[in-house]
Symmetry: C2
Subunit: 337 residues, 2 copies
DNA sequence: AGCGTTACCGGTAACGTTATCGGAAATTAT
DNA sequence: ATAATTTCCGATAACGTTACCGGTAACGCT
C-alpha cells in the first residue's frame, strides 16, 4: 500500500501552504486564479483524492450508513438494492452487515459500526432477537436510526414496513372466497413481528367469516423450507386435516408444496396454498403458488429516503411509519373457482 | 448525534494524561494497577469505544475490506456470506458495493472506496466491464486486491474461481452420455469470462466425442430468464432443432424450461436440459433440472482467506489461483437412461 | 503622503489516538 | 547515604484535512 498523495505533497511541490491548496481545491474565492490552476493541474496529475478518514474525523461525520440485516435472502437482497440505489444517489456509502439471524452477531455488528464508522443506522432485526438493548444504545447516543421490514414496536424511530396484517387478510380472504373452510397457517418464530402480524390478519379474517381456527392449525416453525415441509407432513396426517394452508413465506410454501405432493394430494383441488413474498420461484413451480407481493425494492427505497430525510434534520420523524400495501397474486395453487 | 466519550474525557475526569489512559486501556506494563483499574472502571461506565477513524488515520489502515460485486443474486449473496463469515472472524469489516452490472457504477464504487476507506479490495467484475483501468488503478496504488468468481485474466492478483471449463465438460459429457446428439448452449455476454470458459468446456467435450457444434446452437444472450426464454423459443423453432440445451446459469435454464414446456416438448425425452449454479430452485421445478454446483459459499470463504493471507504479507500471492472443482447434480431434466 | 481597502496567503488549532522520548519519583543496590 | 535502577507518567508529534485568525503587499482614495 503506497502513500496516497496528500494536500501536503502538493503544497510542498508548489511551494505554497496546505491551507492555500485546500482552498484552491475547494474553489474558494480568495485564491489567485493562477494558483488555483497550478494546484488543480498538479492534483490531477498526482491523482489526488481527499482522505475521507481525515475529513470524517474533522467533521464528525462519515457519510456512511450502517445497514444491519439478518441475511441476504431474496427479499432482503432486494430491499438492500433499493437502499443502495437511493443512498448512492444521495452521496452516502452503505455498509451492509449480516447478522445471520443471530442475536450475538447482531450485537457484534452494531458495536463495530458504532465505533464512529457510520453516522446512522438502518436496521432489520434478526428473528432470534428478543432483547433490544443494542438498538436502544444506538438511540441513547442520539445516532439516527431507521427500522425496516422486521421492525421493533416499542422503539421510537421511523419505521418502514409492509402492512403485514393486510397481507394476512388478503391471503385468507382469498382462500375463503375460493371455498376453503379449514385453513391452516404456517407461521414463523413466535417473537417475529412480521409473522405475528400476518397471522393476526389471518385470525381476524377467520373471525369476520365466523370461522374458527383449530389450534392444531396454527403452527410456528423456523423460517425455512425443511421445517415447513415437516410441519406440513404432520398437518396432513392429523385427524382434522386442513383444506388450505397459508404460509408466511414462499420458502415455507415450497416446503409445504413438497409435502402435499408427496402425500399425493392435489392443489388446488384437495388443498389450497398461498405463500408470501412473491418471489420469482413461486410462478415457476408446479402448481404455481399464489403469493403476497411485498414490494421489497420499494420498501428499500422508502427506507433510504426516510433515512436521508432524518439526517437532514426533519422533525417528528420518530413516530413516522411508512406502511406499504401488499398485493396478492393469485395462481394455480389456490384458484379453484 | 451526541459526542462520543473520548480518551480525553476519561483523562480529565481522572486528572491524568491521555497517554496514560491510552496505555491503561491497552494494558501496557508501565501503568500502575491502581490507575489501570480506575481507567477501566470509568471507561466501562462511560461506555468508551475507541474512535476507529482516528486509529485508521494514524495507522494508515482501516481493517475494512471493500467488496465490489455486480449484484446480489443467489450465487453472489452466498459468496458474500462466505466472505463475511471469514472476514468477521479475522476482525475485518466488510463493505459491500453493488455495481448492478454497470461499468459506470463499478468505477464510482471503486473510486469511493479508494478514498482511504478500505485497505484492500475483493472484486468480482460486472458483465458490462470491458476496460479494467479502474482495477489497475487499485494495483498502481499498491493496494491489495483479490479477484473472485468473475475474474480478469490479465491482471496479476490472487484469483479464486470455479473450474468453469470443467463445469462445461461435466455438463456436456453427461448430456452426451445420455444419448443427446445435438447439444445447444445458452451462453452469457460475449466478454464474460465465466461464460466463455463454460463454453470452452462444452466445445472441448463435443470435439472429444467427434461431435460438431452447429453455429446456430451457440447463443449469446443476456444473463437472465427472459432472454433465455426467447432465445430458446427461437432455438426450438429452428430447422436444426437441438435435442439438448446447456445453459450457463440456472436462471437461464428456467427460461429455457418455460419455452420448452410451452412448445409442448417433454424433458428429458424430447429435450435434455442442464443448468449451472445448482440454486435451490432447480430441484423444485418440474421437471427438476440438472445443474452444476459451484460451491459459492466455499469460494467466498477461500476468497476471504486469500485476502487475509495477502494482507499478512505472504509473498508470491499475485500469481496464485485457487480453483474450486464443480460437481454436476443430475436430475430429471436430463436423465433418460 | 498617509490612510483604508482589497486580494491573497500562511500559521495554528483541532478532530481522537498512539509511539516516542524524557523526566520525576520510588525503589533497590552498594 | 549515594548511586543506579526501576516504575510510572506527561508532553509532544504525527496521521490528513479545514476553519479561523492574522498578516503582507498592492492598490485606490483624499
Amino acid at each position: 500500500m503506497e502513500k496516497q498523495t496528500t494536500i501536503k505533497d502538493i503544497a510542498i511541490a508548489l511551494n505554497i501552504s496546505t491551507s492555500t491548496v485546500s482552498r484552491a481545491l475547494r474553489d474558494a474565492p480568495d485564491v489567485k486564479a493562477e494558483t488555483k490552476a497550478a494546484v488543480k493541474a498538479l492534483s490531477d496529475k498526482l491523482d489526488y483524492q481527499p482522505n475521507r478518514l481525515a475529513l470524517s474525523l474533522l467533521n464528525r461525520q462519515t457519510n456512511t450508513i450502517g445497514v444491519i440485516i439478518p441475511n441476504l435472502d431474496y427479499v432482503l437482497a432486494t430491499m438492500v438494492k433499493g437502499i443502495d440505489e437511493v443512498a448512492l444517489e444521495a452521496g452516502y456509502t452503505v455498509m451492509v452487515c449480516q447478522s445471520d439471524e443471530s442475536y450475538g452477531r447482531e450485537i457484534v455488528n452494531t458495536k463495530r459500526l458504532l465505533d464512529s464508522l457510520v453516522d446512522g443506522f438502518i436496521v432489520s432485526v434478526s428473528s432470534e432477537t428478543k432483547i433490544f438493548e443494542h438498538i436502544k444504545k444506538i438511540q441513547d447516543k442520539k445516532i439516527p436510526l431507521v427500522l425496516f421490514d422486521r421492525i421493533v414496536n416499542n422503539i421510537a424511530a421511523p419505521k418502514i414496513r409492509l402492512d403485514n396484517i393486510d397481507g394476512g387478510v388478503q391471503a385468507t380472504e382469498h382462500l375463503i372466497e375460493q371455498g376453503y373452510k379449514k385453513i391452516a397457517i404456517l407461521a414463523g418464530p413466535e417473537n417475529l413481528n412480521i409473522s405475528n402480524k400476518r397471522m393476526e390478519g389471518y385470525l381476524q379474517t377467520l373471525k369476520t367469516h365466523s370461522l374458527r381456527a383449530d389450534k392444531g392449525h396454527i403452527i410456528h416453525c423456523d423460517f425455512n423450507q425443511q421445517y415447513a415441509y415437516e410441519a406440513t407432513k404432520e398437518l396432513l396426517a392429523s385427524k382434522n386435516r386442513p383444506d388450505a394452508i397459508f404460509t408466511i413465506s414462499d420458502r415455507m410454501a415450497i416446503g409445504a408444496m413438497l409435502a402435499i405432493k408427496e402425500k399425493g394430494l392435489s392443489m388446488p383441488h384437495d388443498i389450497g396454498l398461498v405463500g408470501f413474498n412473491n418471489e420469482p420461484i413461486v410462478s415457476l413451480v408446479t402448481p404455481a403458488i399464489s403469493s403476497v407481493e411485498m414490494y421489497a425494492f420499494e420498501i428499500g427505497k422508502a427506507t433510504a429516503r426516510a433515512y436521508i430525510e432524518m439526517m437532514s434534520g426533519a422533525a417528528g420523524m420518530s413516530d413516522q411509519e411508512i406502511i406499504i400495501k401488499p398485493k396478492l397474486f393469485i395462481r394455480t395453487s389456490s384458484k379453484r373457482r
